[in-house]
Symmetry: C2
Subunit: 117 residues, 2 copies
């Protein structure tokens, strides 16, 4: 069976609270994560909430990487969704770990667009 997309769902707990609320840092992390997995960035958009929390999405030629953060809980929900054989979403993980420093890193791996040969 083939699949069109690789979708990693990351549940990140015990993250660095300051990093989770750092809009510029998160935008840089997204751009670095895109580079790390060999994807092509179309655009990146981040938004800072009041009093806290950041949302960010990197739109890729190969799908997207997103983050929604809850600094007060040390939690971030991330998705790394890529298509194409030349991109490996797992290669983005070290960049994310290095910036957010989660104590607990859970990954759910979903294959999107399954096609029976």
């Amino acid at each position: 069976m083939k699949h069109l997309g690789k979708h990693l769902i990351l549940e990140l707990w015990g993250c660095d609270n300051k990093a989770l609320d750092d809009q510029v840092g998160i935008e840089n992390m997204l751009v670095d994560a895109v580079d790390a997995c060999g994807a092509t960035l179309i655009c990146v958009k981040t938004h800072k909430f009041s009093p806290q929390g950041v949302t960010g999405v990197a739109v890729l030629a190969e799908s997207h990487i997103s983050i929604h953060s809850w600094p007060e809980l040390g939690y971030a929900a991330m998705d790394i969704f890529t298509c194409g054989e030349h991109v490996n979403p797992e290669d983005a993980i070290p960049t994310i770990r290095s910036f957010l420093k989660p104590d607990n890193f859970e990954v759910i791996n979903i294959q999107r667009g399954n096609i029976v040969d």
Copy 2:
């Protein structure tokens, strides 16, 4: 157990091929889907690929809605991720069904950010 986010993963097959390649139509569908589930749009970004395919992401105050389409296969991968009690991601589904007209509509429902009371 509580959760911070509701994440619907939609696997849509047998869609209208023209709709899947219609950048303006997909952007309108995303905006309408955001309205339908009572979410707040921060921005929407769509991109048309050559020779075919569209990527679109609506960034929300309550997370995001995304689509990646393969018109040649009649397939779209969509995600509706919302947080907060006032938004129900299921309410976006009729808008999506109406525009893309999938023959086969599979939903995977993932609770993000689970917290044990």
